[in-house]
């Protein structure tokens, strides 16, 4: 296979909503720089919105070579059809080789629509991106077949090669105040007619769950047995100044809110310590915790897959072990 010489450059979609909490674009810039070095090309961040100056500067500070800005009041609110048409025009003109976005709620809606319009391939929720040394193609690794295996996917014939990546999979580069980049302002017509009308947008209230920044994370799965028994994780988290995460079965059982979901369709975390209790270790879940420095797993099944990735394993009733730990810690702390 040969690289397509008509296409050049790595583009990242600038998903700046909920910045500074949402740092996925910065993480993708960092990964994009690694990929760009191998392809001898540049990283461009595409930024659509209104009054986006601050974000353009942040992206340069974190490593973007180029920021491509379409700044207009009509882009203040996200409209999928407007954004899709606009970005499709930019892609047709500039022809990047690779286009990556965060697998956020926004990216998960926008990127598939864009890929379909461009008739190109899209790998969603990737856990790894690399350049194949021989072909120069983007190798997109994503859990497949219900999470039973990891698939390495390439898009040999269509461009751009598109992928979405979970927040937290890659590390961002540090902020560099002395950085200088290029900024491009395309003269592009913005088509605003669309079939869906935004009536109102409202920020969701409630306590922010900051799993991605927590240095200690306690995760509960179905093995905890009930919502009342799940509460022990919150008690421990308070003591350890940590955050609580959950697997999908625990969330589907109503034991925790979905903002605490970890894994392929949830968040990825890289804490110093992660305690995972009553979780079997399905790949859809463990892809979200593989960045943890130390993992302690608790499960009554000695053959549970979770023990394969744990640094320390405890075989026993998850709630009983956690309750004992809580009792001991309360006496010490």
């Amino acid at each position: 296979m040969q690289r397509d010489r008509d296409h050049k450059g790595i583009w990242i979609f600038g998903d700046y909503r909920n910045y500074f909490q949402n740092r996925v674009t910065l993480q993708l810039i960092a990964k994009g720089k690694d990929l760009a070095q191998k392809l001898e090309t540049e990283v461009t961040v595409v930024l659509l919105g209104d009054q986006t100056h601050q974000y353009a500067m942040e992206y340069v500070a974190h490593g973007a070579d180029v920021v491509m800005v379409v700044d207009h009041p009509t882009l203040k609110d996200y409209h999928i059809e407007t954004y899709t048409r606009l970005v499709a025009k930019l892609l047709a003109s500039w022809r990047p080789e690779i286009f990556i976005a965060g697998a956020t709620a926004f990216g998960r809606e926008f990127f598939p629509r864009l890929a379909k319009r461009l008739r190109t391939g899209l790998s969603a929720d990737c856990v790894s991106l690399e350049i194949d040394a021989e072909s120069g193609l983007l190798v997109q690794t994503t859990p497949a077949f219900g999470g039973d295996l990891l698939a390495e996917i390439v898009t040999p014939d269509h461009r751009p090669q598109m992928a979405t990546v979970h927040p937290g999979v890659f590390d961002e580069r540090p902020h560099k105040s002395s950085a200088l980049g290029r900024i491009i302002y395309p003269e592009v017509e913005i088509e605003t007619d669309q079939r869906v009308q935004l009536v109102r947008s409202r920020r969701e209230q409630g306590r922010k769950v900051n799993l991605e920044d927590a240095s200690t994370v306690l995760v509960g799965g179905r093995g905890l047995g009930s919502k009342e028994r799940f509460q022990v994780l919150f008690d421990l988290a308070d003591l350890l100044n940590g955050e609580v995460g959950a697997t999908r079965p625990a969330i589907l059982a109503g034991w925790s809110e979905d903002t605490r979901l970890l894994g392929q369709t949830g968040k990825s975390v890289k804490p110093k310590l992660l305690i995972t209790a009553g979780t079997s270790g399905a790949l859809q879940y463990t892809t979200g915790i593989q960045g943890a420095e130390a993992i302690i797993a608790i499960n009554r099944d000695p053959h549970a897959p979770i023990f394969r990735i744990a640094d320390l394993g405890l075989v026993g009733d998850a709630h009983a072990v956690l309750a004992l730990l809580l009792e001991k810690l309360r006496k010490r702390l």
């Binding site: 100056h53 500067m57 942040e58 003109s93 105040s177 900024i183 302002y185």
Partner: protein, 154 residues
């Protein structure tokens, strides 16, 4: 597709011709008796825009020289007033000559310049445009580093 291009600094930019720019120059800061204007590059450890210039009114009369946001010559008897984040300068009549103010973000800064500035021939060289300024005539719109003024101090 047509496009415009500039440079962008992570630390500080001005808004000129509807583009971010780390710094820009109008005219030639060399000759003493002529119009020139410098919005200088701001080093990473600083936060405020730095403005230098030799300004004329719409009749082509010399009215003001600015060095580092301070007036050094003021034959037009303009009035410089500090404001939050910057300064503004008025003609004796009260009409605004130029306003410079810096907005601070969490990790960066953006300086906005407003006003109409003329050269020695009374030609308009700078005017308001949306949030920033639109500039006309000879100049350099994206400085890479701090401007190196000549021996004259300009």
């Amino acid at each position: 597709m047509k496009f415009r291009e500039s440079l962008i600094s992570a630390n500080h930019n001005y808004l000129v011709n509807d583009m971010l720019s780390p710094g820009f120059v109008l005219g030639d800061p060399g000759p003493r008796d002529d119009f020139w204007f410098v919005a200088d590059v701001v080093p990473p450890e600083e936060r405020r825009g730095r403005i230098y210039g030799r300004l004329y009114d719409r009749r082509g009369d010399f009215i003001l020289e600015l060095k580092g946001n301070r007036t050094t010559e003021n034959p037009g008897q303009t009035v410089l007033q500090s404001i939050q984040g910057g300064f503004r300068i008025h003609y004796p009549s009260g009409e605004l000559l130029i306003k410079v103010h810096t907005r601070n973000f969490a990790n960066g800064h953006l300086t906005f310049i407003h006003g109409k500035v003329y050269d020695k021939e009374g030609r308009l060289r700078m005017e308001p445009s949306y949030e920033g300024v639109k500039v006309h005539g000879k100049g350099q719109l994206a400085l890479v580093g701090p401007y190196e003024f000549g021996e004259s101090g300009h």
